[in-house]
Symmetry: none
Subunit: 115 residues, 2 copies
DNA sequence: GATATATATTCCCATATAGGAATATATAAA
DNA sequence: TTTATATATTCCTATATGGGAATATATATC
């Protein structure tokens, strides 16, 4: 078998460093492809292709505007990563805020349901 | 050029789903290779190879114990991910309304997970 | 020393990239 | 309608897998 597809899920998609750079830009503000190209200085097809992957896993959404396409981030889609990270927080010391506690409990309950 | 190496950094390493499963086990308690094989039911070389990648990016550490090797997680190494996630937190802040919304999403996502 | 156990490593191959180059498509402007 | 602009897509190739099968290595036990 071959490697896991980059579009398999959000984790796979952000494994590529360039895609994280695009995300870091889009989290600041929505941008067109050429605005992104300006910012990161990569060939336009490279940007478009990486955006394509991000679009497939729904990290970004495309909004047509004339001959421009505005790309916008969909932060909710990155929640699975944040949730997955919760399992390590107990090791990092410090206090967890109430929201985190609550979410941890929810998560634990959810996991047991499938056992 | 080819794909980014899985050992390029922590993000790339956790892109592979099986490696996340191993991490999820090791965060509960340190284990030997065979204990992991027992748990996940994959061929031993598969487990060893994935552990090799995790070891290279330092997510896990190996402790020799006779002919056993105990693998232990190094949670600090995952902090870059947590830090990277900070940039999205402003979108899913801590109000109850948003928490409700979030919990609804979890439920909805759970149902679609296996499609 | 011989053997069993635990784990890593090597060899193999099908597969999916990431990026360069060129081109296609869509839409606006002239 | 012709042209310019914005973006996506196709074709290509080198590369790095992930996993199966077989084997090597290390250590414990007899």
């Amino acid at each position: 078998m071959a490697r896991t597809k980059t579009t398999y899920d959000v984790f796979s998609a952000i494994g590529e460093p360039k895609r994280r750079v695009l995300i870091e830009q889009l989290v600041l503000k929505e941008m067109t492809v050429n605005e992104l190209v300006e910012k990161v200085q990569w060939p336009q097809p490279v940007v478009s292709k990486h955006l394509g992957v991000l679009k497939q896993v729904k990290i970004v959404r495309e909004k047509k505007n004339g001959r421009h396409r505005v790309y916008r981030i969909q932060p909710e889609e990155l929640r699975p990563i944040q949730e997955w990270m919760h399992q390590f927080e107990k090791y990092w010391g410090g206090t967890l805020d109430q929201l985190d506690h609550y979410l941890n409990n929810i998560q634990a309950r959810g996991k047991n349901e499938h056992e």
